[in-house]
């Protein structure tokens, strides 16, 4: 499948319209605990996870591998039983139901297309199990294949399709039974970069067109940030933060989220007092004073961390200004759109600065030069843990 990916947006023409938006909760996870194994070797995959996913939402579970996001998805699908807690689907408690009794469908990471069945048989599989009549199955299958623009390839075997085409078949197959919730388990991870970027747009479009609630699992923050209505960042079996893309990038609630989403500089500080508009002042061990917006309610004397995104720092000529932090330029790394610069503070702390190469070669510094750092307003965020 070379070149451009044709859009999926003709779904509107097919009459799969987005239903009126409601504030109904689609999936509700209540205090779910999942441990694998027993005794001293037991592993806790989910540690008291609770969250609500709204109807019609594109919801993403984001986290590093082993954080429990896939386990949570599999619990919603019914592939894992849970150790404790409850799962509700539109108000019905479902954790006792086997996967084949749950009105949710999954797009698997490796698509899991049945290799011995053709494209249309794969798409028809769920409908057949639901005992739809043959005519209905046929029309629904062709509708779905048209939706994903694979109607020309209905008789091919999965092995005869490209990765992108297989992806579409998997999507069509999962959508064919018209599930209330669609679960997507890193569905784009096996595609190459260009295709992946194109599919992001299409998936988002498809979700908006169909109005089906999407629960999307990924470890790729870019994917999560571009598509999701809301993102749950997970780590070590716990939800660290739930919020929009903007929320979790600009206002991380803890060190993990700040560090995991994008690049950041973390400095150890001590809270010294309060400032205007809920901001606090703090000071690093070297005596650098910062004003930051806190996550939580810090008290004077607390030890905490400050997170500063590298693009919110500007490198300037050495200056005596009050808010200028003196430093020495270290390594410069040219990255195309911008240049990354590692600078050292007087105590040796390394700080990453990223300046756009918007107007010619932006940086007039060389390795070893003396310089100063200037923080944007509100760049520093105080994290209590």
């Amino acid at each position: 499948m070379a070149g451009a990916v044709p859009g999926l947006s003709n779904s509107v023409a097919l009459g799969i319209m987005k239903p009126p938006s409601t504030d109904q909760v689609a999936v509700s996870i209540k205090s779910v605990v999942k441990t694998f194994g027993e005794g001293p070797g037991a592993v806790t995959a989910l540690d008291d996870v609770s969250l609500d996913i709204a109807d019609n939402e594109f919801f993403t579970l984001l986290g590093p591998s082993g954080c429990g996001k896939t386990t949570l998805l599999r619990i919603i699908a019914g592939f894992e039983d849970l150790t404790n807690g409850a799962v509700f689907l539109y108000g019905d408690e479902i954790e006792q139901l086997p996967p084949n009794k749950r009105p949710v469908n999954t797009v698997f990471q490796h698509y899991a297309l049945f290799p011995h069945m053709g494209v249309s048989e794969n798409v028809a599989f769920g409908l057949r199990r639901l005992k739809h009549d043959e005519a209905a199955i046929r029309s629904r299958v062709s509708e779905m294949l048209e939706l994903v623009q694979l109607d020309q390839l209905a008789d091919r075997l999965p092995a005869q399709l490209s990765g992108g085409q297989q992806q579409r078949v998997a999507l069509a197959r999962a959508l064919a039974p018209n599930p209330k919730v669609l679960l997507l388990d890193e569905p784009l991870s096996a595609l190459d970069l260009k295709l992946r970027q194109a599919m992001r747009v299409e998936l988002k479009q498809l979700q908006e067109d169909t109005g089906i609630t999407f629960i999307f699992v990924t470890h790729d923050q870019e994917e999560a940030l571009t598509m999701s209505d809301r993102i749950a960042v997970m780590s070590a079996g716990q939800v660290q933060q739930i919020g929009s893309a903007d929320d979790i990038y600009e206002r991380p609630v803890n060190r993990f989220v700040a560090d995991f989403i994008g690049d950041t500089n973390l400095l150890e500080v001590k809270v010294t007092g309060t400032a205007a508009k809920g901001a606090v002042t703090c000071e690093t061990g070297q005596g650098i004073k910062l004003t930051c917006l806190p996550a939580g309610a810090p008290k004077k004397g607390d030890r905490a961390h400050v997170s500063i995104r590298p693009e919110k720092i500007t490198l300037t000529q050495p200056s005596r200004a009050k808010d200028a932090i003196p430093c020495t330029v270290g390594r410069l790394i040219y990255l195309g759109t911008d240049t990354q610069c590692l600078v050292n503070l007087d105590d040796g702390t390394e700080i990453m600065v990223r300046n756009q190469n918007a107007h010619g070669s932006a940086l007039q510094f060389g390795t070893g030069d003396k310089a100063a750092l200037k923080l944007d307003d509100g760049a520093a965020r105080l994290l209590m843990d």
């Binding site: 694998f36 194994g37 070797g41 037991a42 386990t71 592939f79 894992e80």
Partner: protein, 310 residues
């Protein structure tokens, strides 16, 4: 619920501690296990039991405890004085069988390693064909193969005819009904067992290591000894076991190719249940054979575990 019937596999976290088996899986597993327990494990327990009983006059056993079968293995009553004296009769049968099996294993290794190596260095497309050729005899009736070997090595067989016609010899060279015949038969029977595992390990061998060794001033044969052999050792050990163990208990080759002159373990055991009608002794012989095999297996398993541990 979903964890049963194996409907989960690629769960994100693999448990370290094993859980008890679920009911569904037990149901699936038990027919095969019960079949093996009832029709193999129980018979093996019977054979151990029988080895401690007294032989019936004409076959069968009497339910009287006795260790005579094991005593008989090492000692015999002197024909004339009735004293219990050490006898190597059975030990020599076992040691000769072991020797035959070792000889067969070594010959198989000498033929099998170069063959496996040769196959593994063919282009991939040819390899499959070679492996197939080596595999076919593995599945062909052992009896038929032994018979065909007997057929060609007889005094009047094609080989001797050809040798005489070529003037290599004037008298047929005796091959059938000799220990050579047995060894040849064993090699012929089990050679594929040697080639295949060695091939598997050479195929996995990273030939760049050879280039590295050449680069470090080694010649071909040094590389073979110092690099290839040590790395492919697991395959060589597996192949040797697969040849040695069946050779040790072999029955057909000694019977047909050895002329029945010298008993091997397999024949000795069969004889006890047919002609000589001493079931406890036959059972004891089988138990001893099984023990030897078990010890060999355990030794190699230990070795492998140790090797893996380092």
């Amino acid at each position: 619920m979903a964890g049963s019937l194996g409907l989960t596999t690629n769960g994100a976290v693999q448990p370290k501690a094993a859980a008890p088996i679920s009911r569904d899986r037990l149901l699936l597993l038990s027919p095969a296990l019960i079949a093996i327990l009832v029709f193999l494990v129980t018979p093996l327990i019977f054979i151990i039991t029988y080895s401690f009983l007294t032989p019936g006059t004409y076959g069968g056993v009497e339910w009287v405890f006795s260790t005579d079968a094991y005593v008989q293995f090492l000692f015999e009553r002197d024909l004339f004085t009735e004293d219990l004296v050490f006898s190597n009769a059975y030990l020599s049968i076992y040691s000769r069988s072991a020797l035959q099996a070792i000889v067969a294993t070594v010959i198989c290794l000498i033929i099998g390693f170069p063959t496996a190596y040769f196959i593994a260095t063919r282009p991939v497309s040819q390899r499959t064909a070679w492996v197939f050729l080596i595999t076919v005899p593995y599945w062909i009736n052992l009896l038929i193969r032994t018979v065909s070997m007997l057929f060609i090595i007889r005094d009047e067989g094609p080989i001797n005819h050809a040798l005489i016609a070529l003037g290599v010899t004037s008298e047929p060279i005796r091959m059938a009904y000799t220990d050579f015949g047995i060894a040849l038969g064993l090699v012929y029977s089990y050679l594929p067992f040697m080639v295949l595992p060695i091939y598997a390990s050479i195929e996995r061998f990273d030939f760049r290591l050879m280039e590295a060794a050449y680069d470090l001033y080694s010649d071909r044969w040094t590389i073979l000894r110092k690099i290839v052999l040590p790395i492919t050792k697991p395959g060589i050990i597996a192949g040797s076991l697969l040849v040695f163990i069946p050779s040790l208990g072999s029955f057909i080759a000694p019977d047909l190719l050895g002329g029945g002159k010298n008993l091997m373990i397999g024949n000795l055991i069969a004889l006890q249940f047919q002609g000589s009608r001493n079931w406890p002794f036959g059972s004891a012989s089988a138990v001893i054979l099984m023990t030897i095999v078990l010890i060999v297996l355990i030794i190699f398993a230990r070795r492998r575990a140790q090797a893996a541990g380092h």
